[in-house]
């Protein structure tokens, strides 16, 4: 795709970045991530989602961000 971009000035449309929500379980302290849901915000206490490691139901949202694309070496 790089050649037509140079010749025609065409640039493929960038995909809308989808953030991930990172939750820290209060029981085991493990951080898990899942796709962002509406109503999520940093420091929100979530009581209705099970921790995939220990099954604990209480966790806190510690981060929400778009992960960087890993470039192949």
């Amino acid at each position: 795709m790089s050649e037509p971009s140079i010749i025609l000035g065409y640039r493929p449309k960038e995909k809308i970045p989808e953030p991930l929500t990172f939750l820290k379980c209060f029981s085991c302290g493990i951080e898990n991530s899942r796709p962002f849901k509406e109503e999520d915000y940093v420091l929100k206490i979530v009581n209705d989602e099970k921790c995939p490691k220990c099954g604990g139901t209480s966790s806190k949202i510690v981060n929400i961000y778009v992960p960087e694309k890993k470039t192949a070496k």
Partner: protein
């Protein structure tokens, strides 16, 4: 048939020869092109440029329409209005704020502050009327969304103005200027498109890194919290016997609060001057610089129209309080679109740097003010 080549090659002597006549015509055509090219060429170039502008203007319109659609859909989904909000959204997208007169600069900052606050309140109450079922923090995020629409609408109208004016007056220089800046304008418009999605879903944006650092600093240490200025809170914490007052906009709705007024009110209420005022904000990176790079310095790290910056500078000067600042570099696109990993990771690094600075510069029993500056969408308290 014997052809007299010398006669053919010389159009003046060709006489009745058909080939010679054709060559004469070609010569005349060449001469005409040579004499007419300066004006004809410019017209041709102008028409190419106008066609290019028209294509980009159409793209800008498509982005504007997309943001309009997102805004209307979000207000309908979140606010559940009884009637169609489209005409009111269109009216708000044309809303304007007239800058105060600066011929007499005395008191200009306070005049600007008054006008901006009036505009902000009016805008917010209009959006609240459009979305009667939205919570207060959703109203703030929806207000941001309508502001994005207003921004793209202004951008589109200005570009269209220069395109039409350039076409009407056939002024190549006017068209050239707008054509030169249009790639940057399109990039900003595409950022607006992503920003609209972030605001419609309540996702933290790159500009929210200041409040994010403040939120992480207060997390688990908060002793007291109160609102000190509109949409702006103070959280009191202690770090190794040092009293830290954290000032930030109240999330998770999209607002920047009034950090200038908040710091002023706070410092005036304190029994003694704080030893430091630290501001943390996102800053625009230069092309080629790494996103999430952290820099520290002195002064007040606050962007925008300058009212908040002025208030803190004035306060610090009159009381002799040192001003320290941390900035996290990012592009304009990254500042208004969902937060990137590198920016979020920088928040943790800045957090440690702020704690270290407090321990180094502030003695036990003394106080410090830390202000996290930026849009607090998606960052709770």
């Amino acid at each position: 048939m014997v052809v007299n080549f010398s006669a053919i090659l010389n159009p003046a002597t060709g006489g009745d020869n058909v080939l010679s006549f054709l060559l004469s015509l070609i010569w005349i055509a060449f001469l005409m092109i040579f004499f007419l090219y300066p004006s004809f060429g410019q017209r041709m170039q102008l028409s190419y440029m106008l066609r290019d502008l028209e294509r980009k203007l159409n793209k800008l319109k498509a982005i504007k329409d997309d943001i309009h659609r997102t805004t209307v859909d979000t207000i309908k989904r979140v606010g559940k209005p009884e009637k169609d909000p489209t005409p009111d959204i269109d009216r708000l997208s044309e809303f304007f704020v007239i800058q105060p007169e600066s011929m007499d600069p005395y008191g200009l900052v306070y005049k600007l502050e008054h006008i901006l606050e009036t505009g902000e309140s009016a805008y917010e109450s209009e959006v609240a009327k459009l979305a009667p079922h939205a919570s207060p923090h959703q109203v703030k995020s929806l207000t941001n969304l309508v502001e994005v629409l207003r921004g793209i609408n202004t951008l589109y109208r200005v570009v269209r103005h220069y395109y039409l004016l350039g076409r009407k007056t056939s002024n190549i220089y006017m068209v050239l200027q707008i054509q030169m800046v249009l790639p940057m304008i399109i990039e900003i418009a595409e950022s607006y498109q992503q920003a609209a999605i972030a605001f419609s879903r309540g996702q933290p944006i790159g500009d929210g890194v200041g409040p994010l650092v403040a939120a992480k600093l207060a997390d688990g240490r908060e002793k007291e919290r109160y609102e000190i200025a509109k949409d702006t809170i103070v959280q009191e914490i202690e770090i190794d016997n040092r009293k830290v007052y954290i000032v930030r906009a109240a999330g998770p709705g999209g607002t920047v609060g009034r950090p200038g007024e908040a710091v002023k009110q706070l410092v005036e209420k304190l029994p003694e001057n704080p030893k430091l005022i630290i501001t943390i904000d996102a800053a625009l990176k230069l092309e080629g610089e790494e996103t999430g790079k952290i820099a520290e310095g002195v002064g007040v790290a606050i962007g925008g129209p300058g009212v908040d910056k002025y208030k803190i500078e004035e306060l610090a000067r009159s009381r002799g309080i040192p001003l320290y600042a941390f900035v996290i570099f990012q592009s304009i696109t990254e500042a208004i679109t969902p937060m990137r990993e590198s920016i979020a990771k920088s928040a943790d690094v800045v957090l440690e740097k702020v704690k270290q600075l407090i321990l180094e510069k502030v003695k036990g029993g003394e106080t410090v003010v830390v202000a996290g500056i930026g849009n607090t969408i998606g960052v709770g308290v």
